[in-house]
C-alpha cells in the first residue's frame, strides 16, 4: 500500500520535472474532478477561458474558483480583478490558497488594458470580471496575446467579453440539494457544465459535477450518491 502511494507520488513528480515540454504542453493542474472536462486534463498556459451561464443559472463564480483551486494550492498566484464581492470563505472551502490570492479593484475602462497586462506578467492565473462597462475589443485582443506570450491563464467571467475565448465553459443547469420547505440547509449542488471552444477544445463535451458535494469537495456526479434529506424538524411555535 505504502509503496503504491510512494510510486504514484514519484510518478507525479517525474511528470512535473520532465525536462522537455513544449509550450502547448505546459498546463496548470486542476482538481481531479474537472480533469475530464478540460482538454489535456489541465489549464493550458496562455489560454483564455470564458465561464458563463444562461440567465437564472448560477455557479459561475464557484466554477471559476474550483478551476483555479489546484494550481493555487500548488504554488501559483491568482489575481481577481473586478470581483469585489467574491466570497472568500467559499474560495477557501473550494481549495484556493488565500495566501496566494490578490484582489484588484475594478479599473476604469481606460486603465483596463494596462492593469490587466501588468497582472498577466506577474500571475499564473488572472480571473477577470468585465463589469457593466465591458472591455474594449482591442484591449481584449491585446490581453489574450499577452497571456499567450507570458503563459498565464485568463479566466473571463460574466458578459461583456468581445473575443471568443479558447475554451468556453457554460453552466447550463444547477440544482441545490439539502434545503426543504422550512428545514435543512444548503448542502450540495449538482451542476452541468458544457464545453466548447477552439483548437483542442473544439470537440463539445458535457459533464455533471457536485459543486460542491455533500462532503464539501468538487466531484464528478456518480449516480449512487444520494444526499440524505435532513429529517424535517418540527417548526418552532411560540409557547407560554
Amino acid at each position: 500500500m505504502r509503496s503504491g502511494v510512494a510510486l504514484s507520488t514519484l510518478g507525479e513528480l517525474a511528470e512535473r520535472v520532465r525536462p522537455v515540454t513544449l509550450t502547448r504542453e505546459q498546463r496548470l493542474p486542476v482538481l481531479p474532478a474537472l480533469e475530464g472536462l478540460l482538454p489535456g486534463a489541465g489549464l493550458r498556459r496562455g489560454a483564455t477561458v470564458s465561464i458563463g451561464s444562461p440567465p437564472g443559472v448560477g455557479g459561475v463564480t464557484s466554477l471559476a474558483l474550483a478551476l483555479v483551486a489546484d494550481a493555487s494550492r500548488l504554488g501559483s498566484w491568482v489575481a481577481a480583478v473586478g470581483l469585489p464581492s467574491l466570497g472568500l470563505v467559499a474560495a477557501d472551502e473550494l481549495g484556493v490558497a488565500l495566501e496566494r490570492l490578490v484582489l484588484v479593484a475594478a479599473p476604469e475602462r481606460d486603465a483596463w488594458g494596462g492593469v490587466a497586462a501588468a497582472l498577466v506578467d506577474g500571475f499564473d492565473l488572472v480571473v477577470l470580471h468585465a463589469g457593466r462597462s465591458g472591455v474594449r475589443p482591442a484591449d481584449a485582443r491585446r490581453l489574450a496575446a499577452r497571456a499567450r506570450e507570458r503563459g498565464s491563464v485568463l479566466l473571463q467571467l460574466g458578459p461583456g467579453w468581445p473575443e471568443g475565448a479558447d475554451l468556453q465553459l457554460q453552466v447550463t443547469r444547477a440544482r441545490w440539494e439539502g434545503l426543504g420547505d422550512g428545514h435543512g440547509h444548503l448542502q450540495a449542488r449538482k451542476v452541468r457544465v458544457s464545453r466548447s471552444g477552439r483548437g483542442e477544445a473544439a470537440q463539445p463535451r458535457r459533464a455533471d459535477f457536485w459543486l460542491p458535494g455533500p462532503d464539501g469537495l468538487v466531484a464528478v456526479v456518480a449516480d449512487d450518491v444520494v444526499v440524505d434529506p435532513v429529517a424535517p424538524a418540527r417548526p418552532l411555535r411560540a409557547v407560554g
Binding site: W77, G87, G122, R175, R189, G216
Partner: protein, 520 residues
C-alpha cells in the same frame, strides 16, 4: 577586537511625543490591534507593549489611542537629527526616536566621552524643548550603548572595556530574539553573562550563526565580525527627478523603484545591506544626507520605507529645516554590506520566485490605480460570510513573506451561529434590498422568540419581479454585541432557493429584508 565605541541618543516614548501628546496623559500607540508604544502615565496603569487594544483600554479607560504612523515619527524627528549634525556628520538613525554615532572623532574633539555626552544631551534637549526628555548612553558597540541609554538617568558612560561587565547581569530577553532566548532560558542561561561565559566555538556549533551573533552581543562585541572591505562604489543607485519634487508624493513614488533597484544589485552579489545612506540634492545645489541602520538585513520594502520617512522629514519639516528648493536627485548607497543569509530559490518553480513576480505586478498595478486598489484576504473571527475574511491593503503586507493571517487555523474560537458550509461564493458588500412575502402577500417577519410570522413564498430583489420560493430554511437568529448600544445588531437569516434556481442568503434586520449573499 572590541566593538566600535558608540553614543546612542534615545528620545523616550518617541511615537507618543511625535503624536503631540503630553507624556503625563495616558496614551498608547496601537498597530494591528496591539500596543506598540506607551506613555509613562499609561504604564502606571499597567498598559504595556504587545497588549491587545481592548485589554489596554480595560486597564485604563481614559487611555488615548493613537494611530501608528512611522512617517510622522520620522518627520518630527528630523530636526533633532539635524541638530546633532553639529557634533558629527556620521549620525545614524536606527529608528525614529533613536540615533547612534561612533564617538572616536567627536570625543577627541570635544575633550572626552563625558563632555561629548553632555553636549549631545544639551543639544537634543534644546531641540526637544518641552516635549519630553532624552537619554544618552556611551558604550562599546551599538547594542550595549542602546542598553546604556535605556538605563541612563539621563546620561551614562560605560568605561572602555567595561561593557562586558555592564552586560553581564542583564536578562537574556534584552537580546531581541525571542525563540533563541526561550531555548537558552530552558537551558538555564538567564543572563547575558551566562551566555558570554560559554566558548564561542561551542555556541556556534550548537546554535549556528544566530547563536554566534547573540554570543558576540552578550560579550560586548559587534554583532558580526567587522567587514574589512568597504562596499564598492558602483552599488550606489540614483534617480533624477524631473521636474524637481517639492512634495513627498512624487518622490516617494520613485523611492520604491530605487529601493528595489538597490536591493536587486546587492542581491545579485549575494549580499544585503544593514546600513544605507539616503541622499538628496536640490535644485539650489543643497546636499542632504542621512544614514539609516537596521539590526538585520534591510529588505527592499524596508529601504523604501526609510527613504519615504526621510523624504517626509526633509520636505515635510518646518520652514527652518526644509530645503529651499525641490529635490532634483535622490540616491541610495549601501554603507555596510553583509552576506545575504536569505532564501535559496527552489529548484523547480519555487514559491519565492513566483511570489516575487506577483509582488512586482502588484506594485505596478498600485502605480496605475493608486494605493489601496490591491487587497489581500486575511482571516478574522466572525459569524458573517462578509466579515469572516477581511481585505487588507497589499502595501501594508510583504507578499513574499510567510503570511499566517491568510491561514484558516488562525481563527480561534468556534464562533457559534456561523452558517453551515458551503459558504456563498458571492457576498454583497452592500446588502441588496429585497422583499420576502407569504402566500397572502404580507411581508414575512420574525418574532422576538425567533419564529416566522408565516412561511415565505415569494421573493423580490430591489423591487424587481416576484420569484416563487421553492425551498427555504431558517430563521437563524443572530444577536451580536447586545451589551453595546451603538453597535448591537439583531438579525434573522434565511436560506432560500427560488424558482430561477438561485440560492440566496437573506437577512431580516430592523423590519426590512436584504440579500446578504448569493450561492453562485
Amino acid at each position: 577586537m572590541t566593538a566600535v565605541r558608540t553614543l546612542v541618543v534615545r528620545c523616550a516614548d518617541w511615537p507618543i511625543v511625535a503624536a503631540g501628546v503630553a507624556l503625563d496623559v495616558p496614551a498608547a500607540v496601537v498597530y494591528a490591534n496591539r500596543v506598540v508604544a506607551t506613555s509613562p502615565a499609561a504604564r502606571q496603569h499597567d498598559v504595556v507593549q504587545h497588549q491587545r487594544r481592548r485589554e489596554a483600554q480595560s486597564r485604563c479607560p481614559a487611555l488615548e489611542v493613537l494611530d501608528h504612523d512611522p512617517a510622522r515619527d520620522a518627520r518630527i524627528f528630523e530636526p533633532i537629527v539635524a541638530a546633532l549634525d553639529a557634533l558629527t556628520p556620521r549620525v545614524e538613525i536606527a529608528l525614529p526616536g533613536q540615533v547612534a554615532f561612533p564617538t572616536r572623532g567627536p570625543s577627541r574633539f570635544f575633550g572626552g566621552d563625558d563632555a561629548l555626552m553632555a553636549q549631545a544631551h544639551t543639544i537634543v534637549s534644546e531641540a526637544l524643548g518641552e516635549r519630553g526628555g532624552c537619554q544618552v548612553g556611551i558604550a562599546d558597540g551599538p547594542f550595549a550603548a542602546v542598553l546604556a541609554a535605556q538605563a541612563a538617568r539621563p546620561t551614562m558612560v560605560i568605561a572602555p572595556g567595561g561593557t562586558p561587565a555592564f552586560l553581564m547581569p542583564l536578562p537574556m530577553a534584552t537580546l531581541d530574539r525571542p525563540e533563541l532566548v526561550d531555548v537558552l532560558g530552558r537551558l538555564g542561561l538567564r543572563t547575558l553573562g551566562a551566555l558570554a561565559a560559554l566558548p564561542e566555538r561551542d555556541v556556534l556549533a550548537r546554535f549556528g550563526a544566530e547563536g554566534r551573533e547573540a554570543w558576540r552581543l552578550a560579550s560586548g562585541l559587534d554583532e558580526r565580525p567587522p567587514a574589512l572591505a568597504p562596499p564598492p562604489d558602483d552599488l550606489t543607485v540614483s534617480v533624477e527627478l524631473d521636474p524637481p519634487a517639492d512634495t513627498v508624493a512624487p518622490a516617494a513614488f520613485l523611492a520604491r523603484g530605487l529601493a528595489e533597484e538597490l536591493h536587486q544589485r546587492l542581491w545579485a552579489r549575494g549580499s544585503a545591506c544593514t546600513r544605507v545612506v539616503i541622499g538628496a540634492e536640490t535644485e539650489h545645489g543643497e546636499h542632504l544626507e542621512r544614514v539609516w541602520r537596521a539590526e538585520g538585513a534591510l529588505t527592499a520594502a524596508a529601504i523604501a520605507d526609510r527613504l519615504r520617512w526621510q523624504l517626509d522629514g526633509w520636505i515635510g519639516g518646518s520652514a527652518r529645516h526644509r530645503p529651499t528648493a525641490g529635490i532634483s536627485r535622490l540616491w541610495l548607497a549601501p554603507d555596510e554590506v553583509v552576506p545575504a543569509g536569505g532564501r535559496q530559490l527552489g529548484f523547480w518553480g519555487s514559491d519565492a520566485a513566483t511570489g516575487d513576480r506577483a509582488r512586482r505586478a502588484v506594485a505596478r498595478v498600485q502605480g496605475l490605480l493608486g494605493v489601496g486598489s490591491v487587497a489581500v484576504p486575511e482571516w478574522r473571527g466572525s459569524r458573517d460570510p462578509a466579515t469572516q475574511i477581511a481585505l487588507v491593503a497589499a502595501e501594508a503586507i510583504d507578499l513574499t513573506a510567510e503570511r499566517p493571517g491568510a491561514q484558516r487555523d488562525r481563527v480561534l474560537g468556534p464562533w457559534p451561529g456561523r452558517l453551515p458550509t458551503p459558504s456563498p461564493a458571492w457576498v454583497h458588500g452592500e446588502p441588496t434590498a429585497a422583499e420576502v412575502v407569504d402566500a397572502a402577500g404580507e411581508r414575512v417577519l420574525v418574532s422576538g422568540r425567533g419564529t416566522l410570522s408565516a412561511s415565505p413564498r415569494r421573493l423580490s430583489v430591489t423591487g424587481g419581479p416576484w420569484a416563487d420560493i421553492l425551498a427555504w430554511a431558517g430563521p437563524w437568529p443572530l444577536e451580536e454585541r447586545w451589551w453595546d448600544t451603538a453597535r448591537r445588531r439583531r438579525r434573522a437569516r434565511l436560506q432560500l432557493v427560488t424558482a430561477d434556481g438561485q440560492a440566496r442568503l437573506v437577512t431580516l434586520e430592523s423590519g426590512t429584508w436584504h440579500i446578504e449573499a448569493t450561492y453562485d
